[in-house]
């Protein structure tokens, strides 16, 4: 079951204000059954009673997280290879972070410095281009690690994994709409990718909140300025599903970003340009029909100078 032009309903965190129910009602998504992916909740996966109370549509959790765990328990070779891949990804991320730190400091300093505007502007552009080059390089390395794993275990080469992916696909075929909850975005993307769901979801209506919205973008960008140990520089961790090209979604911006530090936000915006960075705070809504924005509520886009402007639908 697939709609002609799939809808993408993107929401911010569902706490303290819940807007899943009202957003769903105004989205045009019908009252048919919805498949749920709550793998981002990890051990709490499928605990969807509270979500079911909000919506009329019958919900059915695909239990991707639990089923993947069961698959790993049955297929040790796959599990070992998956762990090795994860170790490599962690190592790759560590090295990227090591290099990123210095480039970020340099870029922020060029953005803060005064001087001959023509000279400074050129150095700022170059500092940002170096950041982009590092991001591109990192993405390439991450994809190489994934490709190495996929070449061994992809496309039917591992029977248990193929059976698992086929079972998920079969189950997914019952739904025109899939709801992806928030939670751990890395775990979510890894599990989606393992069973090929990143491809299978393209033709479905998708409702996603927070992490569930982030995975629809080209890339997953992590950010948090308010960690107890201090600020962290935004990092790309890998590709997303690419269903919303040119968009970087920022859930809970108010809680996670120092939005008044225009140097930081401006650098954020310019680093990921030409993609548009959009906020998804609690109560926000973005509704895309295909790739066209049809509706929005409280969402904002980050401008080149680090300010925030309300997003308006076509």
């Amino acid at each position: 079951m697939s709609p002609d032009i799939p809808l993408r309903l993107l929401l911010g965190p569902q706490h303290p204000v819940v807007n899943l129910d009202s957003a769903l009602a105004r989205s045009g998504i019908g009252d048919g059954p919805i498949g749920v992916i709550s793998a981002a909740w990890q051990e709490a996966e499928a605990d969807i009673d509270a979500v079911q109370r909000l919506v009329q549509n019958p919900l059915s959790d695909l239990r991707i997280y639990q089923r993947t765990d069961a698959l790993f328990a049955a297929d040790k070779r796959l599990h070992e290879a998956y762990r090795l891949r994860q170790d490599r990804l962690i190592e790759q991320q560590r090295l990227y972070r090591m290099r990123l730190k210095h480039l970020m400091v340099a870029a922020r300093q060029t953005l803060r410095t005064a001087g001959d505007s023509a000279v400074v502007a050129a150095e700022r552009r170059h500092a940002i281009s170096q950041l982009r080059a590092l991001d591109r390089h990192h993405l390439g390395q991450v994809e190489k690690i994934h490709s190495h794993f996929d070449s061994t275990f992809g496309a039917g080469s591992d029977a248990p994994l193929s059976e698992y992916a086929a079972a998920i696909e079969e189950e997914l075929s019952r739904f025109e709409t899939v709801l992806i909850t928030g939670g751990n975005v890395i775990v979510l993307m890894n599990r989606l990718r393992l069973c090929g769901l990143d491809r299978q979801l393209q033709q479905k209506n998708i409702i996603g909140w927070s992490a569930g919205a982030m995975v629809l973008c080209d890339h997953i960008v992590l950010f948090h300025d308010r960690m107890p140990q201090g600020r962290r520089d935004p990092e790309i961790v890998g590709r997303g599903m690419g269903l919303l090209p040119g968009l970087v979604l920022l859930p809970d911006t108010k809680g996670r970003l120092r939005t008044k530090d225009l140097v930081r936000t401006g650098l954020f915006s310019r680093r990921f340009a030409p993609a548009t960075c959009m906020t998804l705070d609690n109560g926000s809504l973005l509704l895309f029909e295909g790739q066209t924005l049809r509706d929005s509520e409280s969402a904002k886009r980050m401008t080149r100078d680090g300010k925030f402007r309300r997003v308006r639908a076509a």
Partner: protein
């Protein structure tokens, strides 16, 4: 003088009922911004405040308020300070160290208990308190046969609430682990920080030495015990990430020395160190003056300062400003930084005690072992 006491004395000698009332109504010690007034009520010949604060007199005398059984003394405490103290009461030729009878806030340590003065601007961090929302990890008691010490050693192991045997976990090794549990609320802290996603789910090995002043003071046997006995035992027993950057050694006071020493003796075994008020005594020339128990520490630290190597990639250090060890801790920072260690040093307006170490755990642990909050978008 504290305004409430001034008011009490304004009309001359107060009667016992007025004193009873004020003792009932007020929280002691009396904190008025930076001025803290300690009050003792009772019969005595002399009363002293003892608070073991480097920079203050060891014994601060109280003054008797004429016509009353009240004794008072006032000290200035900078904002955010927290100090532990006792009253030294001299009466009828005897001397007794007692807790402040008017103050219920008490801190315990292996030697007993002290009264606590929470100065202006200090608040106990809420993440150190039991949180019913945070799922509780568990503690296991195990016996480890040590080839190094040729005896069995008891260790406790903390497992996170979400422990699963098919996951892999980073390892935190805690010197004086039982004391950290008892006096620094380590279990509640680990439960809470894990629940808040500020640290990852970790397995912690809580070790306790039967002779800590010897074994923790730069003793090669202890370093060997950690690397040759404890690490293989933990790796065989639990699903651990078998990499140095997933291992953190921590300790306070002599436990800090033991951590630094083991990482120095066995570089590349421990990716990070959490060192609290480390007893990093050294001598630039001549003999140190800290007593014979520090002899091996000073030998190690002098050697270390000469050739620090690179004991770990990341080190978090904390120390109280009101302890004499602040000098040694501050002076260690550039030595480590010069070697390219990524280092974070935090000073606290507190002294050499377990609650100081408790209050620094969030910053230290979350910096050394960042949790998944970074990846979680609820």
């Amino acid at each position: 003088m504290n305004p409430a006491l001034r008011k009490l004395l304004r009309k001359g000698t107060p009667n016992p009922a007025d004193i009873d009332a004020i003792v009932r109504e007020l929280d002691f010690p009396l904190v008025d911004g930076p001025d803290v007034t300690f009050v003792f009520r009772g019969t005595a010949d002399e009363v002293y405040l003892r608070c073991w604060i480097s920079g203050l007199d060891t014994a601060q005398p109280f003054q008797s308020l004429p016509g009353t059984d009240l004794w008072v003394t006032t000290i200035e405490l900078p904002k955010g300070s927290r100090i532990e103290y006792k009253f030294d009461v001299v009466a009828g030729g005897t001397r007794e160290l007692i807790l402040d009878p008017l103050n219920d806030v008490i801190a315990h340590d292996p030697f007993g208990a002290n009264s606590v003065c929470q100065g202006f601007g200090y608040e106990r961090p809420e993440w150190t308190l039991y949180d019913p929302e945070a799922r509780a990890g568990s503690l296991q008691n195990l016996q480890l046969d040590s080839s190094v010490f040729q005896e069995s050693r008891e260790i406790q192991v903390y497992l996170p609430a979400t422990f699963r045997s098919n996951r892999r976990y980073p390892l935190l090794i805690v010197h004086d682990g039982v004391d950290y549990l008892n006096y620094a609320d380590l279990k509640a802290v680990l439960d809470n920080l894990t629940h808040r996603l500020e640290i990852p789910s970790v397995i912690a090995a809580l070790i306790q030495s039967p002779d800590r002043l010897k074994e923790y003071g730069g003793d090669d046997r202890h370093a060997a015990f950690l690397v040759k006995d404890l690490l293989p035992f933990m790796n065989d027993t639990y699903p651990l990430t078998d990499a140095a950057d997933a291992r953190c050694l921590m300790g306070a006071s002599f436990g800090g020395v033991a951590s630094l020493h083991a990482a120095w003796r066995y570089p590349d075994q421990f990716g990070s160190l959490l060192l609290q008020s480390g007893s990093f005594a050294f001598s630039d020339i001549g003999r140190h003056r800290r007593g014979p128990v520090f002899d091996p520490v000073v030998r190690f630290m002098n050697e270390f300062r000469e050739q620090p190597g690179r004991p770990a990639d990341r080190i978090y250090m904390s120390c109280g400003m009101y302890e004499s060890l602040i000098y040694e801790n501050r002076s260690l920072v550039p030595h480590l930084q010069d070697k390219g260690v990524e280092l974070r040093f935090e000073e606290a307006r507190d002294a050499h005690n377990w609650e100081n170490w408790r209050d620094r755990l969030r910053t230290g642990l979350s910096w050394l072992m960042p949790g998944p909050a970074w990846m979680v978008y609820e």
